[in-house]
């Protein structure tokens, strides 16, 4: 309760929650607000925003409703952002926990592996992965997960390294609990808050990466997405600025909202950092 109150005093985080809430509502309401396929031609091509009250954000060169595209695209961005982050956290926590808890040679090996993935340029690798495994929602989600787990692994390893030496973990070892059990029931619950903070910020990065991939034409062909809309509008910039302006604004707002929430959670979970901002 007190946490809730503290969170509500962080205006940025509250603003983020409101924006994100609106975007989620838009994603859910898309089939009602804009029934039918967003790829369908519904009006004259290249209607300017406000020109026709039925198509407030205008239409593209094929007469598709920009507003419908944005509403339907919200689903893809949020879905890929959340699912790829979950997968990345799963990989990162597994590797980080094993490395940090067992240490020694296991740690060495796993950290070399992690470093390798950290050095190679993330976005270029995501592009290659999606291109080779043909763009669809699964390959995009997995590619983003594959390039974003190393940060989690390092974080979890550091947490485990320090928690491992604490008395309650030593006690668990002494009473004979098995390694996996100690990891799951003793150490992991105590390392959860930094993981949550990182994960919430990772969702924002994942949405940016997804939009960049679909901007390059590496999106799922069956699903409308914000990045795709901007990519398609690239060559029409001179004639129809609204085609790329509004989807970009949608990405900006979604990512900004999630970052604000992530920072709010961070302030909440790291009380010793509190007040440093003021």
């Amino acid at each position: 309760m007190q946490n809730l109150k503290r969170f509500s005093q962080n205006y940025g985080a509250v603003l983020g929650l409101v924006i994100l809430g609106l975007i989620i509502a838009m994603a859910l309401a898309a089939p009602l607000l804009f029934p039918g396929n967003p790829w369908r031609t519904v009006a004259m091509p290249l209607l300017r925003p406000m020109e026709n009250p039925d198509f407030l954000l205008g239409t593209d060169m094929l007469g598709r409703d920009i507003a419908a595209g944005i509403a339907h695209g919200a689903k893809v961005s949020l879905l890929i952002g959340v699912v790829s982050t979950l997968v990345a956290v799963l990989i990162g926590v597994s590797i980080g926990a094993l490395a940090g808890f067992y240490g020694g040679r296991v740690d060495d090996l796993l950290m070399r592996f992690t470093e390798f993935f950290q050095i190679i340029p993330a976005f270029a690798m995501a592009v290659v992965l999606v291109a080779i495994f043909s763009p669809n929602i699964v390959s995009i989600t997995l590619a983003i997960a594959v390039v974003s787990w190393p940060g989690v692994a390092r974080l979890v390893r550091a947490e485990f390294l320090s928690l491992r030496e604490r008395e309650f973990v030593q006690a668990a070892i002494v009473i004979g609990q098995s390694g996996p059990r100690i990891i799951m029931t003793q150490v992991l619950p105590n390392a959860i808050s930094p993981i949550i903070v990182t994960a919430s910020l990772m969702v924002a990065t994942a949405i940016l990466t997804e939009s960049a991939l679909s901007f390059l034409g590496l999106g799922d062909r069956n699903m409308m997405s914000w990045g795709f809309m901007i990519g398609a509008a690239r060559t029409m910039l001179r004639e129809a600025w609204w085609m790329s302006f509004f989807p970009g604004l949608a990405i900006l707002l979604a990512v900004l909202a999630i970052n604000l929430i992530g920072e709010g959670i961070n302030d909440l979970m790291n009380p010793h950092l509190r007040g440093r901002k003021k």
Binding site: A131, A212, G227, I251, L252, V255
Partner: protein, 322 residues
């Protein structure tokens, strides 16, 4: 220092070989005929060529032999042949690499300089309107897609205001030479470099501000203040010098990621670098070029990290050679 350098070179080589093996695995794991991928899907029409490729890489032989063939091929500079462009992939990439290095170098310098400057200003006037403006802008640019910023600045500065050229690296057909040409390229460089760098400007601003505030709370700063050192001097000599180190560490790790961002920037601005090459290869399903660019990008990143590592030890002698 020598043993440290050698150790780092060893590490860099391991990473590069790792990327080559990764490329090989991708070719093997990808759905479809590996020979078709090596040829690029565009080239799959020529059965004779595919037969040659199969023989060259021994695709009917055991996997370790194939890996060895691929590895030794790449290590001797054979990145394959671009069927589409009818040139070896390596020469295609080397021809484009300088443009990308120029763009990313300029973006890096821009983002580091402006990021540190804004971060110092925000920390120096903490809580003021200036601080609020800087931190808000940093937050916004941190959340803005790079390619969108690029498109919007073309819209504003090229199409509406007509100040800066929207495409290419130099005026085509102008035939400038010497300084005139350098100026022309610089003029074309402004938009791509700034839009590529803005995201990192936001990152470095936030980092510098946090780091400055941290150092400003330390005892030696209080001592300096008590001694009566002027505020400007405290900020510049005492705080900044200590606060900027973590920023450099982070920047050196991030420098390589700029090359990834260059794919997007070069696509928007038709900048003739390897990022644009990668985009064209995507469009044409020219997989040898795609994998080649990925490998070269990784090598550039490894080299940049290596140099940053060495420089860092010169900047901060306290760091042990571990």
């Amino acid at each position: 220092m020598l043993s440290f350098t050698l150790q780092r070179i060893g590490k860099a080589v391991v990473v590069i070989i790792g990327v080559i093996i990764l490329n090989f695995l991708l070719i093997k794991l990808a759905p479809g005929d590996p020979a078709a991928i090596l040829a690029g899907e565009a080239g799959s029409g020529d059965p004779q060529y595919l037969e040659n490729l199969r023989a060259q890489f021994g695709l009917d032989r055991p996997v370790p032999v194939q890996l060895w063939n691929y590895l030794s091929g790449v290590l001797t500079g054979d990145l394959g042949f671009s069927y589409r462009n009818q040139v070896p992939v390596l020469s295609l990439i080397l021809e484009r690499l300088p443009a990308t290095l120029l763009l990313t170098g300029a973006a890096f310098a821009f983002s580091l300089a402006t990021g540190v400057l804004f971060g110092v200003m925000a920390a120096r006037y903490r809580g003021s309107a200036l601080d609020s403006i800087i931190t808000t802008l940093a937050l916004v640019f941190y959340a803005t897609p790079l390619f969108w910023i690029a498109l919007m600045s073309v819209l504003l500065f090229s199409i509406n205001l007509g100040w800066l050229p929207p495409f290419d690296m130099e005026t085509i057909g102008a035939g400038y030479t010497g300084w005139r040409r350098a100026l022309d390229i610089a003029h074309h460089l402004i938009l791509p470099a700034v839009t590529l760098g803005l995201f990192y400007t936001a990152v470095y601003t936030r980092l510098t501000r946090a780091s400055m505030l941290e150092v400003m709370g330390l005892d030696f700063v209080k001592t300096a203040r008590a001694k009566g050192v002027p505020n400007k001097r405290i900020i510049r000599r005492h705080v900044l010098r200590n606060a900027v180190l973590p920023v450099f560490t982070f920047a050196s790790m991030q420098a390589g990621q700029l090359v990834g961002g260059a794919i997007l920037t070069e696509t928007v601005f038709a900048w003739p670098g390897i990022g644009r090459l990668m985009f064209d290869a995507l469009m044409q399903r020219d997989y040898p070029v795609l994998l080649g660019v990925f490998l070269v990008t990784a090598i550039v990143v490894v080299i940049v990290n290596f140099i940053a590592d060495l420089l860092y030890r010169i900047v901060d002698p306290r760091i042990g050679i571990a």
